[in-house]
Amino acid sequence: MKADTKELPLETMDLQMGPAHPATHGTIKFNLKLTGEKVLDCDVEVGYLHRGFAKSCEQATWTQVIPYTDRLNYSSPLINNVGYAMTVEKLLGVETPPRCQFIRVIVSELSRITDHLTCCGMAASELGAITVGFYMIEAREFLMRIVETLTGARLTTTYTRIGGVKHDLPQDFTGQVTQAFQKVRRLLADCDRLLSRNRIFIDRMSGVGLISQETAIAYGLTGPILRSTGVNYDVRKAEPYLVYDQLEFEVPLGTKGDNYDRFVCRIQEIEQSMRIVEQALREIPLGSISLEDPRVVLPEKEKVYNSIEGLMHHFKIIMEGIQVPPGEVYFAVEGANGELGFYIVSDGGGKPYRLRVRPPSFIAMSACHEMIKGYMVADIVPTFGMINMIAGECDR
């Protein structure tokens, strides 16, 4: 028999995964080169959801850009709203009142929780733990309802304004949040019992999608992916904006930089975000929710309807846009997937001259091939799930 044993001929195979694949939530195409079931090389094609965000922004006034930013990372639209509004405020050289800053922190953290819940729930359900998927979506639903009572929309929030927010917190907001957090904590404890010692889950996640610290930095990764490798970089701590320096929270770090670490980082960040919201709700001061500066903020409706100056003021801001001085700024906030930066160039008119978003998902996808090379085809699914590519932000 010994003479008959032959090596099976191995040939590489090209496989195209996507653009529409049930396990890749989002349109994206992996051009894989396989030997057997192992990934030798991978070329990622993005851009299926490109809609010319930057070009559209150049046609709109500063205020009209805010709805466009909802559509960037549609799992956490409020963080995009906050990031954009703060960049324009930096360009204007103004700072919002403390109550507005607290509200912005609260909505950002609520959004971060919904984003992490979506990401973790979907990643778990793709590995077969569909109960966890449903539990986390249920937990997300409680928070989505809060976002809905606050902003009037689940996804297209458009909550911030340049120089403030749309309106104040609704009545008994603290009570609603406390109740929702109780339910979320209970559900997360259930998920923890379902996953933490689950052999299948740990085998599929641990040691898969490894990326080293050096590679992560060389690719410019941020957010949970970078923190899972042990680099302590969080924009909220490194360059505190809003009132993050007054609030206590920790930045969860990983050690290995694999999918399991990313998952754990995200789950722990949910707890930290809830801590931030609870503190902020305790410490939020009374006061105005937007600037009083007439160059930036629309006049009250009473003035608009009853005085010619008010009407003219309103008309000027709506038709010509806020007059922003010429210059260029870069401002970053910590999005759910990493550093969400805005680079804006103004030529002094009512419209942005150039608006660039630094999309954390896009940059994470550029390192995706490093994370899936050498693993099985089936390992692409959890790795891609934990990168949490949001096509709206990646493709803009």
């Binding site: 195979m13 090209d14 195209q16 993005v46 851009g47 490109h50 010319g52 930057a54 070009k55 559209s56 046609q59 930096k90 360009l91 050289g93 103004v94 700072e95 590679t215 930095i217 060389a218 690719y219 410019g220 990764l221 680099v231 970089y233 490194a238 360059e239 210059g327 260029e328 700024v329 870069y330 970053a332 550093e339 930066g341 680079y343 160039v345 030529d347 001259y353 150039r354 660039r356 630094r358 896009f362 940059i363 996808m365 550029s366 390192a367 493709d395 803009r396």
Partner: protein, 192 residues
């Protein structure tokens, strides 16, 4: 006005001016964002210095983008780099002017791998080429797309024609289902 405003002589810029000298054409720190404009020649050496100088230590390439100043500035384009340093916790913006006739700059891929996709996007959107880039293809748009949409002279509402389906090499096609599909298509066209 609660935002800190640094003057022209912030310490990083002063240090850079001392060490790089004539390579720096302009510098400012508008709203605290330290910015230098450098010459296109010897670009890689400057970036290597930024990366490896122990005092600067800009190990993290945050972003690469470009701006089209059509009719406002000469040279027309500016490639904009943003850096961050994990250790020193400071940021820097570096800008390089690129003319319309010769839109080429050196690629940063040898220094930071993350520059790969960012430079591809700049090529896609602005038509600026990167010398030494391993794989300069379009990234967000498709190969058949004509022009570079973020240039200021690209019309906003321009419609480009649909492209025919591309032949994809190396994919597995099930002949039986393929034949069946062709048959159905023929039947359908014969009827109508």
């Amino acid at each position: 006005m609660g935002v800190k405003f640094h003057g022209r002589d912030s310490s990083t810029i002063l240090y850079l001016q001392q060490s790089l000298g004539g390579r720096i054409l302009d510098s400012h720190a508008f709203r605290g964002d330290e910015t230098i404009v450098i010459t296109r020649e010897g670009l890689l050496e400057v970036f290597l210095f930024l990366k490896e100088d122990p005092k600067l230590d800009f190990n993290f390439l945050t972003d690469i983008t470009a701006v089209d100043y059509l009719g406002k500035k000469e040279p027309r384009f500016e490639v904009v780099y943003h850096f961050y340093s994990f250790r020193a916790k400071h940021r820097l913006r570096v800008k390089v002017g690129v003319s319309e006739e010769d839109p080429i700059v050196d690629s940063l891929v040898p220094l930071w791998k993350g520059a790969n996709w960012l430079e591809r996007e700049v090529w896609d959107m602005f038509g600026i080429r990167f010398l030494g880039h391993p794989d300069l293809r379009r990234i967000l748009l498709y190969e058949e797309f004509k022009g570079h949409p973020l240039r200021k002279d690209y019309p906003v509402n321009l419609c480009q024609p649909l492209v025919p389906e591309r032949e994809v090499k190396g994919t597995f096609v099930d002949q039986r289902s393929h034949n069946k599909l062709m048959q159905l298509k023929q039947q359908f066209s014969a009827k109508s």
